[in-house]
Symmetry: C2
């Protein structure tokens, strides 16, 4: 069932039972919230323009004013898709916060008035017997009379030139990317200038079709990274790329995904694939290597070096991308083997490199990449967080789809909410982090991560929780759902091993944060901003992240969920030459910290695994 | 039957009856001669090392000393291939004149010690956890420590880099063309560096396989330009290129020919096609456009402008050339629509741009291109000479193959010699120019080109020639062979129309020369050197060219037959970066003279048609 969002009016498919926040996140449309989608902050307001959503929840009744309620205001984290009707929503300015705020909190130079794909109308005078100027020279002469920047016409442009020049008496349109002409058209054409910003995640690939002139986002499409069939993590992909045939399949698979996204977004917008004249690509270093067909095998072997880190510019035809064959595909630079172009894009989008006071940017996907510092000094590192935060490698873990327990709170009993209010089938990342945070708070799990035994719990008066604990020691299990739950769902439990899995993941991230603070000589109270990107909000509630100690408490920091900041950075680079220049320079301004090379990492890691 | 020439030892197919000079010319091996192959100058000496040739002629007995004769010396213009045995010939230094002399008479900067395809052995230090330099950056660091010139590794090189770097502990070999790395190999490889210089003529395509390190010519191959099936002249090709499909066929055909030449030469040398790392291409402007797939249609329409004139550098894979896919294919620049890269190559090879005193360079192929001047000022023009000088468009005309009358001299009777001493089948270019030159001399043809009537000839005592004239006025015919000729060949005749055809051709060339002299304020006696390239020597005897007035008498000039000077220029550019730079600049130093735009051209042309 289709959901459309104003002001962009792009259409997105939603499943019945999904919250509007989930639909928007998946589509890469950032909506402000602070509570991580628990219905408590009241920030994620949307206005229903057409269609029906699920009934108002009590959270909405308490967060929204009577005037707002009668005007159709809802909270995106509470309102769910219910019918097969079209739903049209408006995201009010106050809720559109992230990309807009990020764009403007970055630098005022990073603005869509600084495009690098441009259209130029020229009037080229005809040649005569007394002046037999070659077509190319005639065009360059007119160009130089109007512009000071260089212009280059390669073979493909030279092939188009003679016919275009004569069809409308010397009136032509040049479309160029930086200094290279990528298309020559007869007459003063006004065909659209489109571009796509790709965010290639280990798990998910997203593409944002953008109007390069207005900066408007026209359509979004995403799909599972088809390389996941060779393994859900980066190391598995690298192993598969050991053989030339494996490397070629991985490349063909990701190119296939990008092509389907080009098809889907251009079809949604009703334009031609050839109208896509530029693309930017972000992704971790391995994803970038694989797209280019460059072997990433040495990223998995000490000393973990990439083949290249600098930004790369490739013609679409050289990657067999199905947009304009001469389109300029610009891959943002990487910082190091395990801190890739996605992190560069996060830095670009958050503007952390401009911050006067210390900040942390943390992007949790399948891996966790982090940067800390300010405009004076920035350091970055990567931790092998693993996919636990996405619900993987967990006994009852599942992706955030219908029936996944996504919220857990414990008072005198265990309460939970599953996506789409469906019968519980498993637990997704946010439910896992919530559950462990709550069980820690009430003492079912101790600060070493051990689940208590039922007798001890009963002795502390927690008899109502004690009966949910079963098994001994390493095989201990805590049932989130029980026979008294009326929904007839599966029995969803947390095992002692699940807790250990989460401890490893959060320990890795937390140790990274601690070492970065140590490296910079900072304490938690010095950090003024924490940019939460990636899984935060979608898979992890920031409050629970604090609860399990994934993040230090940061008493003086603003927590800023920034959604898909990597995607935002890719969009900025697509729209602005200045943003490309900044991105190109960022790797030289960021010090990479190789955690495995630090003698203190193991110590911090063990410490950080404690709750 | 195979003929091989030392010192290069390349093998060439010859037909029985061909002179060694013809075989050598076709193979692009220049052999000195001044008389145009009439057996009178004694310059075209070759030494038979193995095999048998036709018996000694009286010319050879008079030109060569008894010592030379006993040492196996022959004259290349006299000795013919007769048997099916292998023939191995040595070209002694004094006969190897042209390319050597031209190379050295050019500029001493243009020398093989200035290559633009080079091999570099690097030792790249390994990365460590404390220094996780990307492969690319590690290579660039070593490069910069040794060289000051820039280095660029594109996608293909980046793909090769990680494996090559680790196979032999950081020892790698880079092969680069200018600043671009085209191959990365493991270890300190010494695989050969080969290149091919292509000369694409409207009729014939020649390729010279060169060792880029020694400058040695390794093999030569040629074939008929397969585009001739669409017409034997440039205009016919341009018309065929009107449709996109026609343009694509013409491009595919010439690429096919170049690929067969790559195959033949590399096979002859026993090396791999991938060892060919660079190529230079010369040819007229239309041939250059067609190779690049750029429409030449506006070259045939006033004001005759090309799409581009500047030098172009293209990767082999982009033209589907079957050498190393990243090989740099460098097309020499053109001067104008009808003065192409072949003329630039002639200027480069002759060094006319360095001459202190006025010189003329004239290259007659299917068209006639000429340049005149000195280092102070150079002008160039093109004349539509048409293919008459190659025997085409002539009633009994034929290519220079067995049975073609190639020499004619008239005393009290008409004498002729056919190629391979075979029965006469027709007349080739040199025979035609000889015949008309001789008939002019004895008065069978008057200075307006009219064949006299038999009665008038008989009255002047030329009864023995009078009986060879038949028909009236426009239908008058002069029989070169007659019933009293013992060879039982065809009756080979010149018609009044043949004479007119030749007058048009020579008139166009001569008018061009006259207008260039006028433009430069020179007279025939000011010209000090005349570089005769292309058909001269092969299809036109310089002495007969003077006889028919194709050239002014140039009383103070040295006549320098320079063979395939366009091919020599292409070889120089292949071997020397400095030569490429000079070639790139030449078009800006040469003024193009559009003859059709000159009001005095028709007048000069009518004048120049007279003998």
């Amino acid at each position: 069932m289709p959901v459309r969002f104003l002001p962009n009016d792009a259409q997105h498919e939603a499943q019945s039972g999904e919250t509007i926040l989930q639909v928007a996140e998946r589509a890469g449309i950032p909506i402000e919230r602070v509570c991580g989608g628990r219905g408590t902050c009241g920030k994620c307001r949307v206005v229903v323009v057409e269609g029906e959503l699920s009934p108002l929840t009590s959270s909405e009744r308490s967060s929204l004013s009577p005037e707002q309620l009668s005007a159709g205001y809802r909270l995106a984290c509470q309102a769910r898709v219910t019918s097969s009707e079209d739903v049209l929503l408006r995201i009010p300015a106050e809720s559109q916060v992230e990309p807009v705020r990020i764009l403007s909190s970055g630098t005022s130079d990073v603005a869509p008035q600084d495009p690098w794909v441009t259209r130029h109308h020229l009037q080229v005078p005809p040649a005569g017997l007394a002046d037999q100027t070659a077509d190319l020279d005639a065009v360059l002469a007119v160009w130089r009379s109007r512009y000071s920047d260089p212009l280059r016409l390669d073979l493909s442009a030279l092939r188009q030139l003679p016919a275009a020049l004569r069809e409308e008496d010397g009136r032509i349109t040049l479309i160029k990317a930086r200094d290279r002409v990528i298309d020559v058209r007869a007459g003063h054409a006004t065909t659209p200038l489109m571009g796509i910003a790709f965010d290639i995640g280990t798990t998910t690939v997203v593409g944002f079709l953008m109007d390069l002139e207005t900066g408007e986002e026209l359509a979004v499409a995403s799909e599972l990274n088809p390389q996941t069939k060779h393994g859900d993590n980066v190391i598995a992909r690298i192993e598969y790329a050991e053989s030339q045939a494996g490397l070629e399949s991985l490349q063909a698979e990701i190119v296939g995904a990008l092509n389907r996204i080009i098809d889907a977004t251009t079809k949604a917008e009703g334009c031609a694939r050839e109208d896509v004249l530029a693309a930017t690509v972000v992704g971790n270093t391995t994803m970038q290597h694989l797209l280019l067909g460059i072997s990433p095998v040495h990223l998995a072997r000490s000393p973990y070096v990439p083949v290249y880190t600098t930004a790369q510019c490739v013609a679409a035809k050289d990657l067999k991308l199905g947009c304009h064959p001469e389109a300029c595909i610009w891959l943002l630079p990487n910082i190091a083997g395990w801190v890739g172009a996605d992190t560069v894009a996060v830095l670009l989008a958050t503007g952390i490199y401009l911050d006067a006071e210390p900040a942390l940017a943390i992007d949790i996907g399948t891996n966790g990449e982090m940067a800390m510092g300010s405009r004076e000094r920035l350091i970055a590192c990567s931790t092998a967080a693993g996919p636990a935060f996405e619900g993987a490698h967990i006994s009852c873990g599942m992706r955030a789809s219908s029936g996944a327990i996504e919220q857990v709170w414990v008072d005198d009993e265990v309460h939970w909410r599953a996506i789409a209010d469906a019968p519980a089938r498993g637990v997704c990342g946010s439910g896992l982090v919530d559950a462990i945070s709550e069980l820690l708070r009430v003492g079912v799990i101790d600060n070493q991560g051990r689940m208590g035994n039922p007798e001890a719990l009963a002795a502390r008066g927690l008899r109502h929780l004690a009966h949910r604990l079963q098994g001994e020691n390493r095989h201990r299990v805590f049932h989130l759902t029980g026979s008294d739950d009326s929904e007839n769902g599966s029995l969803v439990s947390l095992t002692q091993r699940d807790v250990r899995e989460l401890q490893l993941a959060k320990g890795a991230v937390r140790a990274g944060i601690e070492i970065m603070m140590k490296e910079l000589g900072l304490h938690a109270e010095d950090i003024r901003k924490v940019y939460l990107a990636g899984a935060f909000g979608n898979y992890i509630q920031p409050s629970s992240a604090l609860g399990i100690g994934l993040l230090p408490s940061f008493p003086n920091a603003q927590l800023l969920p920034v959604g898909n900041a990597a995607g935002s950075g890719a969009r900025q680079a697509l729209l602005s030459y200045r943003a490309c220049e900044i991105a190109s320079e960022l790797p030289s301004r960021v010090e990479y910290l190789e955690l495995s090379g630090r003698p203190d990492f193991q110590e911090e890691f063990v410490e950080a695994m404690l709750f």
